[in-house]
């Protein structure tokens, strides 16, 4: 999809989606997918800041054994809010809602998403859910952990009902966004943009959207059942009323394991874009990477029981789920090997987005391999509910998704705002976050293997040194993200003007002006080749 393959002309006109309409009202009523993407960006980054502060508080409390700054009840609440905010308000909506909203129409040559009003509605619904969730902070708090496991969540006197209603509402937003993206990909592709010419980011977003539509309703119904159980005592999950608390875990993980892929698949899409662009090379195995996204989405529905090996689930079900979980490794490895093959003999440059992509490969590989250890019943019985699990999912979710989100933001920043950022400082953010991340979470693998349970307020002195190292690492991560904020704010205020295609990338969004006009392209693009034809 080289520039020469398009007839799109792109004058560097001054009128763009940012300055075409003015005033706050124009932002809150805008149907432009780019503006809605930015609304999501501001909201999600704010929630990331809040969730991050809770994370720092957790690590500060665990710096030394014994009570430091929090009571045990407060610790449970802080731990719950960190998880719930980061999962439901940051990582799940993060890449699809910010980068997907902004770049899906641009990458397929469309003027907007299929249902612009529904798109804006999604943001309002998301914000409604987020506000309800934040309100629980002042109306009883919640201490169940982000998983809301029964029977405790039925009995706790905290604001659990309100919080599950918030998660339900945010889930609705996720479904609406997924629906919008699927229809957009099918119906609004530019002339010549066949399904096998769409960028791999779009394949990833598309697969994610399928998951959002198929899996999220199950979470919604499960949480409503929990709310009904708390309110009316209907007896679905409460054993005293003939219910089964393990059934809650089945229902919850039927959504929440695919949700792991809702979080990681878009990140994989971003990494595909970054590796191709900064290797200056046609991506290796386009079709394999595209279908592996669909493969991961499909397999993800058959593996949820690996979260429940010690829950009282039967051994037969455990063995079946253990075997099925191993299958996820196949499409995931296909992606990894294809990315590595793309890097091989590529003309690699190490700008900050590429550093984040390489960081993703390193951290996600560790997260993936330790996932195999947790998928194996014999080892999971030992590791379950220890810090090994905490380290594993942070390597996947933070090391994977957040690294890709950062890489994606730096990569597309010039297109989004028409300005360049300080590249040296951006690289420094990567160094701080990457080192800080490993210092924080690698010791947690060891702590878990030593038997330190997760979610505990206190620990024995034997675990102190590794916990202290982990806490120092969290400060490095915090500094890294604060520096990122500084880089972005200074670039917005006084960054140099970006050219239309500063990275020399080949996908369609780089063929229009930076920032793009309200209708994305000055002339409708006609696509005659694939998205990564560098040679």
């Amino acid at each position: 999809m080289s520039a020469s393959t398009h007839t799109a002309s792109h004058t560097s006109g001054e009128v763009n989606y940012i300055n075409e309409f003015k005033g706050l009202k124009s932002w809150f009523t805008s149907l432009d997918h780019k503006r809605i993407g930015l609304l999501y960006m501001i909201s999600v980054l704010f929630f990331f800041l809040v969730g991050g502060l809770f994370a720092l508080l957790i690590r500060l409390e665990l710096f030394k054994p014994g009570a430091q700054y929090l009571t045990p009840d407060q610790y449970n609440q802080v731990m719950t809010y960190h998880g719930a905010i980061m999962v439901f308000m940051v990582i799940v909506p993060g890449i699809p809602a910010i980068l997907g909203n902004f770049f899906l129409p641009l990458q397929i040559g469309a003027k907007d998403v299929a249902f612009p009003r529904l798109n804006l509605t999604s943001w309002y619904v998301f914000m409604l859910g987020a506000i309800i969730a934040i309100c629980t902070l002042f109306l009883g708090k919640i201490d169940t952990g982000w998983t809301f496991y029964t029977p405790y969540s039925i009995k706790t006197g905290t604001a659990a009902t309100m919080m599950v209603v918030a998660a339900f509402v945010m889930g609705m937003s996720s479904i609406l966004t997924g629906l919008n993206f699927i229809v957009t990909v099918h119906k609004l592709r530019a002339p010549g943009m066949t399904m096998f010419r769409i960028p791999l980011f779009i394949w990833a977003i598309y697969s994610t959207a399928v998951l959002q539509i198929l899996a999220t309703p199950v979470l919604g119904i499960t949480l409503l059942l929990l709310a009904m159980e708390r309110t009316f005592g209907v007896g679905i999950f409460d054993p005293n009323l003939g219910g089964d608390p393990v059934l809650f875990q089945h229902f919850f993980w039927f959504y929440s394991h695919p949700a792991v892929y809702i979080m990681i698949l878009p990140a994989m899409g971003v990494v595909s874009e970054l590796i191709a662009a900064f290797s200056r090379k046609t991506i290796f195995g386009y079709t394999a990477i595209a279908f592996s996204s669909i493969g991961i989405a499909a397999v993800s529905f058959f593996v949820w029981g690996h979260h429940m090996f010690v829950s009282g689930q039967s051994e037969v079900a455990g063995i079946v789920f253990s075997f099925l979980t191993m299958l996820v490794g196949v499409p995931t490895a296909i992606k990894m090997f294809n990315w590595l093959s793309t890097l091989y003999r590529g003309n690699i440059s190490f700008e900050s987005p590429m550093l984040f992509a390489l960081g993703f490969l390193f951290l996600f590989a560790i997260g993936g391999v330790t996932g195999i250890m947790l998928a194996t019943i014999a080892t999971d019985v030992h590791f379950h509910d220890t810090y090994f699990v905490v380290a594993h999912f942070h390597y996947v979710m933070v090391g994977g998704t957040l690294m890709a989100l950062m890489g994606g933001l730096y990569y597309w920043f010039p297109k989004m705002f028409g300005k360049m950022y300080n590249e040296t400082l951006a690289r420094l953010t990567f160094v701080l976050i990457f080192i800080g991340f490993n210092v924080t979470f690698f010791p947690q693998f060891i702590l878990g293997a030593m038997g330190m349970p997760r979610r505990y307020f206190d620990y024995i002195p034997a675990y102190q040194s590794l916990n202290s190292i982990s806490t120092i690492g969290s400060w490095l991560i915090g500094c890294g993200f604060l520096l990122s904020l500084y880089v972005i704010v200074t670039a917005l205020r006084s960054g140099e003007k970006a050219s239309d295609n500063p990275w020399g990338a080949k996908t369609l969004e780089w063929q229009t002006s930076s920032p793009p006009p309200h209708t994305n392209f000055h002339v409708e693009p006609v696509v005659t080749a694939g998205p990564y034809e560098y040679k």
Partner: protein, 116 residues
């Protein structure tokens, strides 16, 4: 140019099938009869036979037939493209997956646990 091309893309090959009112009436009647059947079987199983293992399966079967009628005629799936029918069926497939694996656990739990 872009808008024109897109609208051509969207409308190509798609048209709504007009279902005769007579069919709607017949389907509505069938739904009404099936509802009466549900009530009748409930009376038979619970009040006459005082409980039967068939009560739930029969109720589910009738409900499935009613749902199928709604999907086929009121939602127009019978006249829709094969792709849309497959996508619709996919939702039911994943519902089956959810129920099957949850049931697999529950069915095998008592017989196989207790090895400690």
């Amino acid at each position: 140019m872009a808008a024109n091309n897109h609208s051509e893309h969207q409308s190509a090959g798609h048209g709504h099938h007009i279902i005769p009112a007579e069919i709607y009436k017949k389907v509505a009647l069938a739904l009404f009869v099936l509802t009466l059947l549900t009530v009748g079987f409930h009376y038979l199983f619970h009040s006459v036979m005082h409980g039967s293992v068939l009560a739930a399966p029969v109720a589910f079967l009738i409900a499935a037939v009613k749902a199928s009628l709604v999907l086929m005629f009121f939602m127009g799936l019978k006249y829709d493209s094969v792709d849309n029918r497959i996508i619709f069926a996919l939702g039911f497939f994943f519902l089956f997956v959810l129920i099957f694996f949850s049931a697999l656990d529950i069915w095998t739990r008592v017989a196989v646990t207790s090895t400690l």
